[in-house]
C-alpha cells in the first residue's frame, strides 16, 4: 500500500493508545477481562472521536488468539486481518450505502452460520443512523437475541435518529469531544514518529480548530505537514487553516475603536489580497469580541481554557483592549458581525457586502440602542392604557365629583398594579401609604367608592379593549360577548346589556362562571382594579339607568368637596418643590 493518510496510519491499535475516552476504555477492558462482553454495543459521539476505532479494537480483543484479552497481540492472523479489513468474521457494514431492509435480511441469513476462523462473528454497523425505518425494525429481533457466536457494534454520530427500540437493546457508550490538551499531545506524538516538529502554539491552534475531533486535527496536521515540511510554524497553520492572523484582528478592533472607516476598507482589501475567507474572518472577529466581553465580565475567565482567540494576545494587551470597551458595545459588534455573516452566506459580492456591513457597523455603533434598557412594547402599551384611563377619570371627576376621591381611587389602582411598582420613588411610596389610609377612611365614611364610568363613549372604548383582550384568550367567548353593549360601570361593577334576541344563548354563555371570570380578568387588568361583570337584558338595564344619572347629579351637586390643595398628589408636589398653588383649572 502506498502513502496512507496520517489518521489511518496512526489509528490506535491498542486500548492504551486511545486518547481521551478513558471512561469507555475502562468499561470495555473490564468487561473483556471479566468475560462480560455484551452482544450489542452502540457507540455514539461526534465525528472523529474514536467510535470505529474502538469497534475494531473490541473485535480484535475478542478474537485475538491470546484472547479474549484486553491486550490484543496485533500479530496473529485474526488481529492482522481485522486491521487490514480482510477478516471474514468481522464484518464492517456501511449502513449509509446499505440502508434497506434487503441488506438486513441478507445479514440475518448469514449470521446463523458459525464463524469460520474466529471465536466470535462481529458485525460493525457504521453510520447506523442512516438505516431506513424498515431496516431498523427488521434488525430488532436479531439485535436482541443474536446467536451465541455473534455480536453487534453499532456506531453513529447521530443517536437521536435511532429508534428507541434499538437503543434499549444496546449498551450505549457516548464518546466525548477531546480536550485541546489531549489533542495537541496526541499530535505531538504523531509528529515525533514522523520525525517532524512543530511550534507548541501551532499545535494548540490546530487542536482548537479541530473542535474536539481527533481525525480533524490529524487531517489539519497532515495538511500543514505537506504544506510546510519538517517544521510546522504558527504562520503555516494560520495560512493552511485560513484563519485570520492576530495582527489583522488587532487592526480590526483598533479601527472599530477609532471609528475609522478608511482603515476598515484597507483591512478588507488586505484580507482579500491575502486570499482569506471573509466568513472565517468574521468568525474570528466574533470570537475576539466574545472574549473581550467575557474579559469585561470577569478577568479570570478569559485566561481559562474557554478562551480562544485572546490566548494569541498577551494578557496585558487583552486587558487593555477590554478596558476601552463597554460590554454593550462588544455585544453590539458581535450582533452586527453575525448579521454580515448571514448576508455573506447568500451574497454574490462578498467584498462589497463586507465593506458595507463594516461601514454600517462603525456608523451605527455610537447611536446603538441598548436592548436591555427597552422594556417590551406590549407591557408599555398596557401601562399606557391604564394611565390614559386614570387621566380621563381624573379629568371627568374633577368636573363632577370630589377630586380627592378620584385620585385616591386611581392611585389605589397604581399600587395594585405590579408593573408600575418598580419605578416608584420613595416619595411616591410615602404618598401611597397616606392614601391607603384615606381610602379606608373614605370607604368607611361613604359606601361605594369604587370606580364609576357612565360616559357612553368612554364605556364603548373600554368595552372595545375588553373585547380585544377576550379575543386573545378565547375566540368563542369573544363572539358571544360582542353582541352585548356596556350600560354603565358603577362601583366596580360593569353592567353589560344584551338585546332581546341575544338574551337566551349569548347572555347565558357570558354568565357562566368560567367565562365571566375570563372577562373580569381582562377588565381588571385593563382598569387596574378588580371589576365584576354583570350581564343583563338590555330592557332591564334601561330601567336602571335613570338611577345612575340621578346619582351622578348628586355627585355633581357637591363639587366643593374638592380643593386642589387637598389632593395628596398636589400636596406632595408642593412639598417636594416647595411651591404654592397660583391657580387651578382642570
Amino acid at each position: 500500500m502506498s502513502y496512507l493518510s496520517f489518521y489511518r496510519k496512526y489509528r490506535p491499535q491498542r486500548f492504551e493508545e486511545v486518547v481521551g475516552q478513558e471512561h469507555i476504555v475502562k468499561t470495555i477492558t473490564n468487561a473483556i477481562e471479566l468475560d462480560r462482553v455484551s452482544h450489542a454495543y452502540l457507540f455514539c459521539g461526534p465525528r472523529g472521536t474514536g467510535k470505529t476505532t474502538m469497534a475494531k479494537l473490541l473485535a480484535k480483543a475478542i478474537n485475538c488468539v491470546d484472547g479474549p484479552t484486553s491486550r490484543p497481540c496485533g500479530v496473529c492472523d485474526s488481529c492482522r486481518g481485522i486491521v487490514a479489513g480482510t477478516s471474514v468474521d468481522v464484518v464492517e457494514i456501511d449502513a449509509a450505502s446499505n440502508r434497506g431492509i434487503n441488506e438486513i435480511r441478507e445479514l440475518q441469513e448469514k449470521i446463523r452460520f458459525a464463524p469460520s476462523v474466529s471465536r466470535v462473528k462481529v458485525y460493525i454497523i457504521d453510520e447506523v443512523h442512516m438505516l431506513t425505518q424498515g431496516a431498523f425494525n427488521a434488525l430488532l429481533k436479531t439485535l436482541e437475541e443474536p446467536p451465541a457466536h455473534a455480536m453487534f457494534v453499532l456506531a453513529t454520530t447521530e443517536p437521536h435518529k435511532i429508534p428507541e427500540t434499538i437503543l434499549s437493546r444496546c449498551q450505549r457508550f457516548d464518546f466525548h469531544r477531546l480536550s485541546t490538551a489531549d489533542i495537541s499531545g496526541h499530535l505531538k506524538s504523531i509528529l515525533q514518529r514522523e520525525g517532524a516538529s512543530a511550534d507548541e502554539d501551532a499545535l494548540r491552534i490546530i487542536a482548537l480548530h479541530a473542535d474536539g475531533s481527533v481525525r480533524d486535527s490529524i487531517s489539519i496536521l497532515e495538511q500543514c505537514y505537506s504544506y510546510s515540511g519538517d517544521h510546522i510554524s504558527v504562520a503555516d497553520v494560520i495560512l493552511v487553516l485560513g484563519i485570520t492572523p492576530t495582527e489583522r484582528l488587532r487592526e480590526f478592533v483598533d479601527a472599530v475603536n477609532r471609528r475609522d472607516i478608511g482603515s476598515l476598507l484597507q483591512l478588507v482589501a488586505s484580507l482579500s489580497s491575502e486570499g482569506r475567507d471573509f466568513r472565517q474572518f468574521l468568525q474570528d472577529a466574533v470570537s475576539v469580541y466574545r472574549d473581550l466581553a467575557v474579559l469585561r465580565l470577569d478577568s479570570n475567565l478569559a485566561t481559562g481554557p474557554g478562551s480562544s482567540m485572546l490566548s494569541r494576545l498577551s494578557p496585558e494587551e487583552a486587558q487593555a483592549l477590554a478596558s476601552r470597551l463597554g460590554l454593550d458595545e462588544c455585544l453590539y459588534v458581535i450582533e452586527k458581525l453575525a448579521r454580515i455573516d448571514t448576508e455573506l452566506k447568500t451574497s454574490t459580492q462578498p467584498s462589497i457586502t463586507l465593506e458595507v456591513g463594516l461601514i454600517e457597523l462603525v456608523e451605527s455603533v455610537d447611536s446603538r440602542v441598548d436592548v436591555s434598557q427597552v422594556p417590551d412594547l406590549q407591557s408599555l402599551s398596557r401601562r399606557l392604557a391604564v394611565l390614559e384611563r386614570q387621566v380621563a377619570q381624573l379629568i371627568r371627576r374633577a368636573g363632577s365629583s370630589g377630586l380627592a376621591d378620584s385620585v385616591a381611587a386611581s392611585s389605589a389602582d397604581d399600587s395594585s398594579q405590579g408593573e408600575t411598582r418598580d419605578d416608584q420613588s420613595p416619595c411616591r411610596a410615602e404618598t401611597d401609604d397616606k392614601m391607603g389610609e384615606r381610602d379606608s377612611v373614605d370607604s368607611q365614611g361613604e359606601a361605594g367608592s369604587g370606580l364609576t364610568i357612565t360616559d357612553q363613549n368612554e364605556l364603548d372604548r373600554l368595552f372595545h379593549e375588553i373585547l380585544d383582550g377576550v379575543r386573545a384568550r378565547s375566540v368563542p367567548l369573544f363572539a358571544v360577548l360582542r353582541e352585548g353593549r356596556p350600560a354603565f360601570l358603577r362601583n366596580d361593577v360593569l353592567v353589560i346589556g344584551f338585546p332581546q334576541q341575544y338574551c337566551s344563548f349569548h347572555m347565558g354563555r357570558v354568565r357562566e362562571d368560567k367565562n365571566r371570570q375570563v372577562i373580569e380578568d381582562v377588565a381588571s387588568l385593563l382598569l387596574g382594579r378588580s371589576v365584576t361583570i354583570r350581564a343583563l337584558p338590555a330592557d332591564d338595564v334601561a330601567q336602571m339607568a335613570p338611577g345612575i344619572s340621578g346619582k351622578q347629579g348628586q355627585q355633581a351637586d357637591k363639587p366643593s368637596a374638592c380643593k386642589p390643595e387637598d389632593d395628596p398628589l398636589v400636596k406632595s408636589v408642593i412639598e417636594a418643590l416647595d411651591g404654592r398653588i397660583v391657580d387651578s383649572d382642570l
Binding site: 502506498s2 489511518r8 450505502s97 453510520e127 505537506s226 482589501a269 486570499g275 467584498s351 462589497i352 458595507v356
Partner: protein, 342 residues
C-alpha cells in the same frame, strides 16, 4: 504569503490559473512528496479554477512524461486521453439535474473497486460536492475514508459549510480564494496592456474572475452598458412614480439573465463608490474612477444610512433573482426603493 504572480514556478500545477498560490503549492507539494491523500476537497468561490486544478492534479498523477516537474507534460498518452476527456481512470461526476444522488455514489463505489485500466491512479472528481443529497454524502463516507489503494477522490465545492461535516473531516482541505482585485488590476495593466482607468474599473466589476475582466476590456459595448446603467440610476432621483416604473420596465426588457446580474453588480458598485466618497473620500478605492466627479457630487445627496439601505435593496434583489423571482417585479420594487428621496 506569496501574492499572485510571484509564485515559485516549480509549484505551479496549472499555468492558466491566477492568484491561487496557496492551492497550487498545496497540491504541488502533495505530488512532489508523494503524499497523495485519498480524498481532497477543493473549495472556494465560483469561477476561480477548482475543476481545472483538480484535472491538472489528476493529470500530473497519471502523467508518465513529467519527470521531476510537478505539472503534467501534456504530451504522453495519459495526458492526451485526459485532454480529450476519454481517460478511463479519471472521471468527473457532476450533479444529476440539481443534486448528486445516492445512485451516483453507488455507481462510484462499484467502479472504483475494479482495477485501474492503465494508469497509476484512479481519480474520481465530484463537482459541486455541496449539492450531494444527505443520503449520497453518507453513503460516500466509508469509501472516502478507506478507498481501494491508488484511488483518489477530489471533491470541489463552493460552500464548505453546506457539506456534511463527516465528509469534510475525511478530506484534505484545499482552499481557493477570490482572485484579489489588485492582482487582476496588475495583470490587466502589465500583461494585457489595458488602460489604467479600464484596468481599475474592470478589476472591480469582474467579481474575481480574470476571464470576465478580460472580456469586459475587449468588448466596448459592455463598458457602454455600464455607463448607461449608472446614468439611468442617477436620473431616477425624485422622478414621479410612473417614470421610475417605466425605467424599470425598460431595464427588464433590455437586460436578461446574466446581463441582469451584471447590471445589478454595476449598480451596487456605484452606490458603494458613493458610500466611499461620502465617508472616507479615499479615491484609490473608488471603482468607477472615470465617474469620480459625478460620484463626489451625487454622494452629497444621500446620507450614509440611505446609501447603505440602497445597497441592501440591491443585495435583496440579487437574492430574489437567484431564487427565481419574477425579474419584472423585482426591478419595479428595486427602482421604487432606489428612487425615493433620502
Amino acid at each position: 504569503m506569496q501574492r499572485g504572480g510571484l509564485v515559485d514556478p516549480a509549484e505551479i500545477l496549472h499555468e492558466g490559473i491566477v492568484g491561487q498560490a496557496f492551492a497550487q503549492r498545496m497540491l504541488a507539494n502533495m505530488i512532489r512528496r508523494e503524499m497523495i491523500p485519498h480524498a481532497a476537497l477543493l473549495w472556494g468561490p465560483a469561477g476561480v479554477g477548482k475543476l481545472s486544478l483538480a484535472k491538472s492534479f489528476a493529470a500530473a498523477l497519471n502523467c508518465t512524461g513529467r519527470g521531476d516537474s510537478v505539472s503534467a507534460c501534456g504530451s504522453c498518452s495519459s495526458c492526451r486521453l485526459l485532454a480529450s476527456g476519454n481517460h478511463p481512470d479519471v472521471r468527473v461526476v457532476e450533479p444529476d439535474r440539481r443534486n448528486i444522488g445516492i445512485d451516483q455514489i453507488r455507481d462510484t463505489i462499484e467502479a472504483v473497486s475494479y482495477r485501474s485500466y492503465s494508469s497509476k491512479w484512479k481519480v474520481w472528481i465530484f463537482r459541486h460536492a455541496d449539492l450531494m443529497t444527505e443520503q449520497a454524502a453518507n453513503s460516500l463516507l466509508k469509501i472516502l475514508e478507506d478507498p481501494p489503494s491508488n484511488t483518489v477522490f477530489i471533491l470541489t465545492a463552493q460552500n464548505l459549510y453546506s457539506i456534511l461535516p463527516t465528509v469534510v473531516s475525511r478530506c484534505r482541505l484545499v482552499r481557493l480564494s477570490l482572485v484579489p482585485q489588485e492582482t487582476i488590476e496588475h495583470l490587466l495593466l502589465t500583461r494585457h496592456g489595458v488602460s489604467k482607468e479600464q484596468a481599475r474599473i474592470q478589476s472591480y466589476l469582474c467579481g474575481g474572475s480574470v476571464g470576465a475582466a478580460l472580456e469586459a476590456c475587449s468588448d466596448q459595448s459592455l463598458d457602454e452598458g455600464r455607463l448607461a446603467a449608472i446614468q439611468s440610476i442617477r436620473d431616477l432621483a425624485g422622478k414621479p412614480t410612473w417614470e421610475v416604473l417605466a425605467a424599470a420596465a425598460h431595464v427588464n426588457e433590455t437586460t436578461k439573465g446574466l446581463a441582469l446580474d451584471r447590471f445589478l453588480h454595476i449598480l451596487s458598485y456605484w452606490y458603494r463608490d458613493l458610500l466611499i466618497c461620502r465617508t472616507v473620500q479615499d479615491m484609490d478605492r473608488v471603482a468607477n474612477i472615470d465617474m469620480l466627479d459625478e460620484a463626489r457630487a451625487d454622494s452629497q445627496r444621500y446620507s450614509v444610512a440611505g446609501l447603505i439601505r440602497r445597497l441592501r435593496y440591491i443585495f435583496e434583489a440579487q437574492r430574489q433573482l437567484a431564487a427565481n423571482a419574477s425579474a419584472g417585479l423585482v426591478l419595479d420594487r428595486l427602482y421604487l426603493a432606489l428612487s425615493a428621496l433620502d
